[in-house]
Each structure stands twice: as C-alpha cells, then as structure tokens.
C-alpha cells in the first residue's frame, strides 16, 4: 500500500509539472502578455510602451527560464529597467534589492504576487480556498445523504411507482445546469415581485457571516445539480444488488425487507456511489465557479475567473496546482476506499 501511494504521488507531481507548464506556456504567449501589460498600465499603451513594461518586469525572458524561476530552480531575475530602476523578482515591494533572496519560487514556498489583486498568491489562495471549502462542506452535507436516500429508495424496487417518481426528479435536477436552476431559485425564492422572499439572492454577506438566509440558495443550487447523478448511480447499483442470489436467499429465509436493505444490500451497493462521490469533488470546483459568480460569493471559483480574465499568470498557476491536487487526491482516496468497502479488491 505504501509503495502504491508513493507511486501515485510521483504521478501527481509529474501531472502537476506538465499542467503548470502548459498553463505557463499559454499565459506567456505574447498577445496574453500584452493584455496583462495593458490591464496593469493602461489600455491605450502603444506597442513600444507594452514592450518596455514587459521587459522591465522580466516578462520577455525565454519561457523556460521564467518557468524555472517560478519553480525556484533558477535565480529570480534582476533587471535594470529603461527608467534606470533595478527590479528584482524576489524583492518584496519596498525591499532593497541587496536584501532580497536570490531564489524565490514554489520550491522556496513563494507563490509570487498576484498582479490583479496585488497580494501574495499564497495568501489569496488560502483565504479563497477556505471560503470555497465551507461552501463545498455544506453542499456535501446536503447532497450526499439526500442523494443516497433517493437512490436507495428508488433502487429497492426497480420500476415501481416510487422509483419512477424519484428517478424523474433526479434526472430533472441533473438536467438543469446550475446557471438555470440558480436563476430559477433566485426568481422563485428571492425576487421581490413574485418571489417568496425567503432567502437572499446574493451570498456576498456570507463571506463574513454565514446565515441560513444568505447561504442556503447557493448550496441548494450546487447540491441539486450533483445530487441527481449520485442518486442515479446509487439506484443502478442498488437495483443490481437487490437481484443477487444472497438477497433472494435472505428473503427466502424470512429476513424482513427493512433488514435486507439496511444490513445486506447497502454495504455492497455503496461501492459505486462512493467512487462517484469522490469524482464529484473535482467537478465541484467547476460547478462552484458558476454558482459563486451567480451569487457573487468571492471564493476560489471567483478568483479563477478573475485571474483568467486578467491573465494573472502566477495566480492561475496556483489555481491549476490546487486543481490537480484535488483531482488526483480524490482519485487516490476512492481507490483506497474501494479496498475498505470490498476487501476482495486489490489496488496494488
């Protein structure tokens, strides 16, 4: 098991390296750098001014050198600008060049500075990840139990009226993208004309103080979209387990239906939903982007959109590292969880 996890961590590092290099390459293409220069300076900069700005800030070095500097393998640039000032990558604002460290990359624990938010990337990511983490936590708390209950109830007797009703409901929730259900929820529950006015249509206030009123709609919107998928998978695996030999044997021996479902079927039926629940985490990162934008909740997704829109290179790199880790760690957990749910499965 230890060797298996070690190998997976190795693959994870390799994937993160490749992915960040792709992001690095794409964000460092000249038209993108030009966009960055114009958002940093002003939108009427001439081509010459753009080139000067980029050169003064070290953006015109070869891509591979810049990538090395970001990683911390190569020493950060020290460039004398056309205005006579010397700029160093590793100098904090106001810090004299002589006191700045030579290396400042990810390996040294420095994630760089965001050009659009003007703060330390590490700090931004920590804060925003915490906000999104809270959102995800409540989504999971609402989504997973309700999806499992719906799935198990529907899968207990396939084709029954309960099954059809619950299946239609769960297809309808997955078939509705978040930007549709979010809009409908706001119209129904928050709009002041025809709406019920139960909740607030934005979650801006939830960033400081989470209440049921300002947080329930975003949570419900994401949970509704993800719920149907988990419920459908649970239903399918539950229906399959219920037709197996040992369930029939148990029934013939006179075990009550409730006991069969809870004690015999459930554990075996949980393997597939477990995989799917783990796959939901990386997907949640995407779902969250839309809902955070819709409800104006400035978390991880909001940062992603802001950084991508302004070509904030170092922020985007940090975001992609986080996504790779989320995707691959959840995959790893699901592989290991498999072994605990069904000891016959071996991962190594």
């Amino acid at each position: 098991m230890g060797k298996f996890i070690l190998r997976r961590v190795g693959v994870m590092l390799l994937t993160a390296l490749c992915l960040t290099f792709i992001v690095f390459f794409l964000t460092n293409l000249y038209p993108n750098l030009e966009k960055l220069a114009k958002t940093q300076g002003n939108f009427r900069m001439s081509d010459g001014e753009v080139a000067t700005y980029l050169n003064n800030n070290g953006y015109l070095q070869p891509t591979i050198v810049k990538y090395g500097q970001w990683l911390g393998f190569l020493p950060g640039y020290v460039i004398e600008g056309t205005d006579g000032n010397i700029r160093a990558k590793c100098a904090a604002p106001g810090q004299p060049i002589e006191e700045a460290p030579r290396f400042c990359g990810v390996l040294q624990g420095e994630w760089g500075r965001s050009t659009v938010i003007k703060e330390d990337v590490g700090k931004i990511i920590r804060e925003k990840l915490a906000l999104t983490g809270i959102l995800m936590f409540w989504v999971m708390l609402l989504m997973v139990p309700s999806a499992l209950i719906i799935g198990v109830l529907a899968g207990m007797r396939e084709g029954s009226r309960t099954d059809r009703t619950l299946s239609t409901f769960s297809i309808a929730t997955t078939a509705t993208p978040e930007y549709v259900s979010g809009v409908l929820f706001i119209a129904i529950f928050a709009s002041s004309a025809v709406g019920l006015k139960w909740f607030k249509g934005t979650a801006t206030t939830a960033m400081d103080n989470i209440t049921f009123e300002n947080f329930f709609l975003p949570v419900l919107t994401i949970a509704a979209y993800g719920m149907g998928y988990i419920a459908r998978m649970t239903r399918a695996s539950m229906a399959e387990v219920m037709t197996s030999q040992y369930i029939r044997t148990a029934r013939l021996k006179g075990v009550s239906f409730g006991n069969i479902v809870l004690k015999h079927a459930l554990r075996n039926a949980l393997i597939a939903p477990f995989t799917v629940i783990m796959l939901q985490f990386p997907w949640l990162l995407n779902g969250v982007v839309i809902v955070e934008t819709l409800f104006n909740y400035k978390g991880f997704g909001w940062v992603l959109v802001l950084a991508a829109g302004n070509n904030d290179i170092e922020l985007l790199l940090a975001v992609s590292v986080i996504s790779v880790i989320v995707v691959l760690v959840t995959q790893l957990i699901s592989d290991i969880g498999y072994v605990y749910l069904n000891p016959r499965i071996s991962v190594t």
């Binding site: 693959v11 390799l14 994937t15 490749c18 992915l19 792709i22 992001v23 794409l26 964000t27 293409l29 000249y30 038209p31 993108n32 030009e34 966009k35 059809r164 299946s167 239609t168 297809i171 309808a172 997955t174 078939a175 509705t176 993208p177 930007y179 549709v180 809009v183 409908l184 706001i186 119209a187 928050a190 709009s191 002041s192 004309a193 025809v194 249509g201 990386p282 990162l285 995407n286 982007v289 839309i290 934008t293 819709l294 997704g301 992603l304 959109v305 991508a308 829109g309 070509n311 985007l316 975001v319 992609s320 996504s323 790779v324 995707v327 691959l328």
Partner: protein
C-alpha cells in the same frame, strides 16, 4: 395600435407559431408507433413512456431548429432586430418600431416580451435552438471519433502506448474546464493560431477512423475497398481542409473562425472522457471468447477492435452519447455564461440567461426564464431518451 395580449392569448399565439413543429412531431410519432415492431431499437423506444417523452422533447427542438433555420418559420421577428420602444416590455406587448419603418413581415406582438436591448425574446430563443442543435451533436460525434480511434488500441494493446495516452487524457481531465476555456477561447490565444492547429489534429480523426474501418473490413476485397477509401478520402479530406484550415480549394466549405474555436474546445474537453470509457470497455471485452475466436481465425487487430469489440460496446456508448450531447449543451451555455462562447450579439441560450439574470432583482423575469426553460427541456429530453434507450436495450 393593438391591445396587449392576455396570457391565454400569448399561449395560443405561441402554439400557433409552433404549429409546423407540432405537426411534424405528430406525424413522426404516428408513423413510428404504427411500424414500431419493424424499427429495431428505435421502435422499441415506443414501448417505454419515458423514452417517448424524451424523444418528443428532443424532436421538438430539432424540428424547431430545422423549421426556423431552413424555412425561416416559427420566429416572429429577426433575433437581432432592436426597437428602443420595446426595451424590457412585458410578454404580449404590441410591437412598435421606434426608429425606421416597421418590418411588414414582423409579427404584431413580442410574444415573450422584449429584452434589455428591445429584441424579441421569443424569436431569440428559437434562433438559439439552431445553434445548440447544430453544434452539440456534431461536437459530440467528433469527440467520439477521437475517443474511439485512440481508446480502442489503448485498451486492446495496453503497454506503453496506453500509458502515454492515459497520462495525456488525465492531464486534460485535471484541468478545470473553465480555465481551459479561458486559455483556449480568448481572442489573445485565437490570435496565435493554437485552436486552428488543434482543429488540424482533432478533425483528422474522423477520416482516419473511416479509413481504418473500411480497410479492416474489406481488405480481402480490394475493388470494393478502393472505392470506399477513395470516396472517404476525397470527401473527408476536402471537408477537413475546409473546416479545420479554411483552405477549401473549391471555396464551398468554410467554417466561421469564431465557431471553430468553440467547436474545437468542446471536442477537446470531451475526447479524454470518451477515450477512458472506450478504453475501459475494450479492456473488458477483449477477454471474451469471441475475441479469442477471431484471433484464432487470424483476423487483424483493427478488424477485431472495430468489428468485434466496438459493436459489443455499443450499448453503454449509445447511452453516453445521448448524455454527452446534453452535457455539451450545458457546456455551451456555461461558455456563454462567461462570455466565452459565440459572438456576443448572437442569440444563444446561455448568453441570454446571463443577460437576463442581471434584471431578475429588478423583477424582470421574462428575459431569463424562457431560455432557461428551453435549455432545461432539451437536456431533460436527452436524459429521458438515454434512459429509455438503456432500459429497452437491456430488455434483450
């Protein structure tokens, strides 16, 4: 000057506008139900209520797109036509044009009201259906071609080839989709030509797929094979040059560059998932006896992959195909939501929803709700259809 329509009047008018679609739908269903025993899996769909509902919803939008796109029916106004006096007007408001002469062929009412620029919401929803119906299925077909052409050998041969391809697939999957689109669809990247090169790589796969398909099947009958290959290569490469490189020598096929970028990106994000599904199925099916039998017969590997493994994987692939069209539709909407999709003027559902969303707090609901409902019904229909297909194909 007409009076504003009541809700009853609006609904009657809308049903009248949809008449060509509804008639086509009734005819399709009548014919299909009569001959359902002779129509294979498609006919069996009419045994399941859920499948029929799904088919009806999907066909509704397909016919609407066809009638609106080809015959210019259904829509009452030009989707881009603005009228300053119709801004944010409620459903059923009589149409007046503030500037210029009114279009004599335009309808008398804005059936679902006007949007924030004074354009007819009803006509824009109809115009949006054409885009969705055109792009989503084709993008899905292309993604399937790429996924199948690479996934079959990866699963069948395994080894280094599989390791490399799986790594690349995982790499694409690890990208947050939104970031990927920001990196591919923004004008800055389009300037560099990267999307065109990607189109150049991805769009050759349908041609490769068909060439291998014919060659593996008919290589014992060279005459037949050569005809098939010639037809595929001529038409395929011609379309390939026109679509991917915009270099059609005859100048007939051309693809709007803006549309191409969105199309390529959608194919690109869908392909790895299809690849993984196909690879998984191939890993499973290659252990079956009939594959061993074909190997003993001395069939070539591509024959076994395409004519033994693929047909036996059709069940899950068909269902995934239906679901993926829905997923692609949602994705196109998501792109529109972030302003990354098609050009901003055009009517597409995602863009309409995000535009209308801003007015929800001002109690103007009629701009965002119609496109939202349109998207919901289409995706719901596709899912029901997939469900019906799965349940009926399992009954064999």
């Amino acid at each position: 000057m007409n009076d504003a329509l009541s809700w009853g009047g609006i609904i009657t008018q809308i049903i009248l506008q949809f008449m060509p679609t509804l008639i086509a739908l009734v005819i399709t269903f009548a014919v299909s139900i009569t001959y359902k025993r002779k129509l294979g899996l498609y006919g069996k769909l009419f045994d399941s209520t859920i499948g029929m509902i799904g088919l009806a919803l999907v066909l509704f939008w397909v016919y609407t797109a066809v009638f609106a796109g080809v015959f210019d029916l259904i829509a009452t106004h030009d989707p881009l036509d603005q009228s300053a006096s119709m801004k944010k007007k409620l459903p059923g408001t009589p149409y007046t044009k503030l500037i210029g002469t009114p279009d004599p062929e335009a309808g008398a009412y804005y059936l679902l009201g006007g949007d924030n620029l004074g354009r007819d919401v009803f006509s824009r929803v109809i115009a949006g259906s054409i885009k969705v119906i055109l792009i989503a299925p084709f993008a899905t077909i292309f993604a399937f071609m790429v996924g199948i052409t690479l996934g079959l050998p990866a699963g069948y041969y395994g080894g280094k080839f599989d390791t490399v391809l799986s790594f690349i697939a995982n790499l694409v999957l690890a990208f947050p989709v939104i970031l990927l689109f920001y990196l591919l669809v923004t004008p800055e990247i389009v300037l560099t030509g990267i999307p065109v090169y990607m189109a150049g790589v991805l769009f050759i796969f349908p041609v490769i797929f068909l060439v291998i398909l014919w060659n593996s099947r008919y290589h014992t009958q060279p005459a037949k094979r050569n005809v098939y290959l010639a037809v595929t290569l001529v038409i395929g490469l011609w379309a390939y040059l026109g679509i991917a490189w915009d270099m059609d020598p005859l100048g007939i096929i051309s693809f709007p560059p803006n549309l191409l970028v969105v199309f390529v990106s959608v194919v690109f994000v869908n392909s790895p998932t299809v690849f993984r599904i196909v690879r998984g199925l191939a890993l499973d099916i290659k252990t079956r006896d009939y594959v061993a039998a074909a190997q003993t017969r001395g069939e070539g590997p591509w024959y076994i992959m395409l004519w033994e493994i693929l047909p036996n994987a059709r069940g899950p692939l068909l269902v995934d195909f239906c679901l993926r069209i829905g997923y692609t539709t949602i994705l196109l909407g998501t792109l529109g939501f972030f302003g990354l999709g098609l050009e901003s003027e055009s009517a597409d559902w995602g863009k309409m929803i995000i535009d209308g969303r801003r007015l929800l707090s001002a109690n103007i609901l009629h701009i965002a709700i119609p496109p939202a409902l349109a998207l919901l019904t289409l995706v719901l229909g596709l899912n029901f259809l997939a469900d019906g297909l799965r349940e009926e194909s399992l009954r064999d």
